[in-house]
């Protein structure tokens, strides 16, 4: 069972719809005992970094997420991916879950439209189990104004070109994965990535 963390932020129903469509067992929850019992954890998120971290904190979920991320597959999506990192500078300096070393800053592309919104092509940096069985030209759907920077390039699995390299998929190379894009809105490619996560 995949525990989808329900902390009051963002649209959690799309990701739930996608898992249901794939017949992958899942449960929306903010209950620590359910999270501890789950096989995998999925952290969604849309909105601003500081308020999302505050909501996780208010529900007392930060320690259990940090602990469980050492034991079972953990996928953060969009803002949920950014929260895996050490620190964000969205609006104000704010600590993240620090599961992968790095920071979150505004996309630097000055001449480009922000948010980075639409379909962009994954460029594979390092092999990753979530990228199995994808077509050569794998496009995924993005909506974001801030982006991750990993301290160590070995944590970067895939990136896309948008005024430079924008990290798309990151991992601690153990249990933790983060997708800047929305696999639940990325057609067949996105569904395959969710299937790969469920099969870990």
């Amino acid at each position: 069972m995949i525990a989808i963390i329900d902390y009051g932020a963002g649209n959690i129903f799309s990701v739930r719809n996608a898992l249901n469509y794939l017949e992958i067992e899942n449960q929306l929850t903010d209950d620590i005992s359910v999270i501890e019992k789950a096989d995998k954890i999925l952290l969604p998120g849309v909105g601003a970094f500081p308020s999302a971290m505050k909501m996780l904190g208010n529900k007392n979920l930060i320690p259990v997420l940090k602990e469980q991320a050492q034991k079972k597959p953990f996928l953060g999506i969009c803002l949920g991916m950014q929260m895996l990192l050490s620190k964000s500078y969205e609006f104000e300096e704010c600590d993240g879950l620090n599961l992968i070393s790095g920071t979150v800053d505004r996309i630097p592309a000055e001449d480009l439209i922000i948010p980075h919104m639409g379909w962009n092509k994954l460029e594979i940096q390092n092999d990753c189990p979530l990228l199995k069985n994808l077509p050569d030209d794998a496009y995924v759907y993005f909506v974001h104004s801030y982006m991750a920077t990993c301290q160590d390039e070995k944590n970067l699995s895939a990136w896309v070109e948008y005024g430079g390299k924008v990290p798309a998929l990151i991992t601690d190379n153990k249990y933790v994965f983060g997708a800047q894009f929305h696999p639940e809105k990325s057609g067949e490619v996105g569904l395959q990535i969710l299937r790969n996560f469920a099969n870990l």
Binding site: S14, N17, N20, M117, G118, W119, N120, Y139, K185, S186
Partner: protein, 252 residues
């Protein structure tokens, strides 16, 4: 690089697709959920439902359509038509839409754009515009399905929309809509050059090359068509193949 998007639009009245689409293999003629699934299969980058239901009760039916579509179609969904308040936006997004498109309501109440963007984020708020060329040579904005000229200058309006926090503009030309001779390139170019937010071209696609032409001659981000895809004159896949031959980046 971001791919250029091809967007089919489905006009829905009381929960049925208007003009009765009849794709092969779909039994329920005019079922918007099945039509959206078919467009998804063809490679649509996004799907727009345009609700032309007049009555208030119809809105609930539209939300059911969105809810059912969101269970089967995993590309972004946009819903337009009849969205008047922040509560309408909230209900539509909660049903599973990724964006809403506001048109006449935004002209009459521009604050709706700002409130929607503040609460739900700019990326959720698309502003639809119907515009037409004047004798003086500029363009003005029309509301109520192109029936009422607001005598509002198009380029002033698009700049205002951007200021208010809209995430995207869907620009329909009344002059080219239904004529099938191609998108209104001068109007499209003027708008694309006036703002930094993405612009979707709408109105006038009649054959394969029209989509690539819009992308080659302007910096629009997407192109939308309704009847062309409804009546199976072209598939989304054929349009994308044509763009690809012409070195335009589209999602495979």
């Amino acid at each position: 690089m971001l791919a250029k998007r091809i967007i089919p639009c489905l006009d829905v009245r009381n929960g049925k697709v208007v003009k009765g689409v009849n794709f092969q293999g779909i039994k329920e003629v005019g079922d918007p959920v099945a039509c959206a699934a078919e467009y998804n299969r063809q490679g649509a980058d996004e799907i727009v439902f345009y609700d032309i239901t007049a009555s208030h009760e119809g809105r609930g039916v539209m939300l059911d359509v969105v809810r059912e579509t969101a269970k089967r179609v995993f590309v972004p969904l946009t819903v337009g038509g009849g969205i008047k308040t922040v509560d309408d936006i909230r209900d539509t997004l909660r049903a599973g839409a990724d964006k809403v498109s506001v048109n006449s309501q935004a002209v009459q109440n521009p604050q709706l754009i700002r409130d929607g963007a503040d609460i739900f984020g700019s990326q959720c708020i698309c502003v639809g515009i119907d515009a037409k060329k004047t004798k003086a040579g500029n363009w003005t904005v029309f509301i109520n399905g192109g029936r009422i000229d607001m005598e509002l200058d198009l380029l002033d309006w698009v700049k205002q929309i951007e200021q208010l926090g809209a995430g995207e503009i869907c620009l329909n030309s009344i002059d080219t809509d239904g004529v099938k001779k191609g998108f209104d390139l001068p109007m499209l170019k003027a708008v694309v050059d006036a703002v930094k937010i993405p612009v979707i071209a709408s109105g006038g696609a009649g054959k394969l090359g029209h989509f690539a032409e819009a992308f080659q001659k302007t910096d629009c981000s997407a192109a939308l068509a309704a009847s062309l895809f409804h009546f199976k004159e072209l598939t989304v896949g054929e349009v994308k193949a044509d763009c690809r031959i012409k070195n335009i980046i589209v999602r495979t």
